[in-house]
Subunit: 205 residues, 3 copies
């Protein structure tokens, strides 16, 4: 099914961008593979732990780990060309964000979770991998301050939930959610759309 | 019940102090909400994951997430007055620490856990939210080096466990634990009571 | 059984090295105990959470937490002699790495997991404790860039899995895995054997 194919592409894309982050920290090949796997599969893992949804997707299908490690070596092999691939990666990452969100929402809906939890499950699936990557790289998570990213996951999750609840055909809901979410994310990158920031410079302690 | 009311107040208070920490890192509104939710609900989530106690409290009652996000906007709206509110926040945080601890201990006792695990469940509920907040803000967790905080959770947990085991009336145990734990925490802040520190400046590697 | 004895020694050794890391961050005694427990027991905890293998080992046997805290005070008491104990600690750590890996693999095999997951379970048990220690100390995890460490866990896991699958006597498999894994780790320290590093200094964003 199309969603499944896009999912594998998205996992590989997330793994490759994580490998670049690992390279900027001069990690060794093992660190590159771990960071790639954690980034690409960490969101789904967090969702499943929080919902008690066992077995985890990569425990059931360990070849996802192989895919992550294989994908992680692409940037190592093609390091000199990576700068030219900035846009393809950003687009794949945008696609992946929406697809991860849809998968997260659909799993929560299958479990019969409440609407807020469906949206949160999609959000967690979409963004936690990147948060773990940033924590392991000793950065403050980018998703807390950069252009619209989590917002894209929330909008996509709400659309998917509403479409499914309204009884629209599953394929229509998926394609519609992907089109809207993907477009919103690309617009956010192009026009540097951001959430308002909260800046507070006193120290309560 | 009183404990439930104090719990909601404590969740809101933890969310508000986390929002200030987010503001000091110039996070956007989304980051503020995530940091608030993780700080206020992360301790209970960690406890439930470690004990295998599903569903998680906020998955069963998603309005806790709404409460956290709503509370997170209070410091954004009232940023200029926050410095004057330092003491109210410290007191609410102290109250929350003891209440979180009591709730953690009581859940572990209901599950029939051993005494050490009951205390640890209370401790995890009380302090892990703050640890996650500090990790996401790229700090070394404050609780590992500041005035007595974890100690307050441990003392409260031991008191609660002993009181329950001794068969004292539940309300008496709760009120007694809150009074002792809260007083201890306030004394620790006022007199800067600290655990002894371990300072080691050689590098084994 | 021998494996059990070595396991306790390894837990104590991991707790002690973590205590030194806590001392370098000037943590208080509570922080030292938490960091020691998280480092020594975090790998097994992560494995059990990921595999849904409840109850966690230290929830079932809380005296492991007491062991960690007791061990954590050894470096506090003997701080001035610790530099002279560098090699004993490195050797105990190497032994612990292999034993943790073996235990992780054997639990996954008992659960009937697929081969890749058996290796990953051993790897997670061996290295996640150290990763959590480094994250809580606000460092990029050492295991992603230093001498062969994760590789030792992977090699040990593969050996153990192959030996068990081949139907060799359990004790032979364990001793053989320990000898090979331990030797490999010591050689890695002595000769500074490292995985190739991936160094990438452009910024895609």
């Amino acid at each position: 099914m199309l969603l499944q194919v896009i999912f594998y592409i998205a996992v590989a894309a997330e793994a490759m961008t994580a490998a670049l982050a690992a390279g900027r920290r001069k990690m060794d090949w093992f660190g590159v593979c771990v960071l790639a796997s954690v980034t690409a599969l960490g969101g789904g893992t967090a969702r499943d732990l929080l919902l008690g949804h066992y077995p985890l997707i990569w425990v059931e299908n360990p070849y996802l780990l192989v895919l992550c490690c294989a994908a992680a070596f692409v940037p190592i092999a093609l390091a000199r060309y990576m700068a030219a691939l900035r846009w393809p990666f950003l687009l794949l990452d945008a696609l992946g964000l929406v697809v991860f969100t849809i998968i997260g929402c659909s799993i929560a809906m299958e479990m019969g979770q409440q609407p807020i939890i469906v949206i949160v499950a999609g959000l967690v699936t979409g963004i936690v991998g990147g948060i773990l990557r940033d924590v392991l790289c000793n950065d403050i998570p980018l998703v807390f301050s950069s252009e619209l990213y989590a917002t894209v996951a929330i909008v996509s999750g709400v659309l998917y939930y509403l479409g499914q609840s309204a009884g629209l055909p599953h394929d229509v809901v998926i394609v519609g959610t992907i089109v809207v979410g993907f477009t919103l994310r690309v617009l956010a990158i192009v026009f540097k759309l951001e959430m308002p920031k909260f800046v507070y410079d006193k120290d309560l302690r």
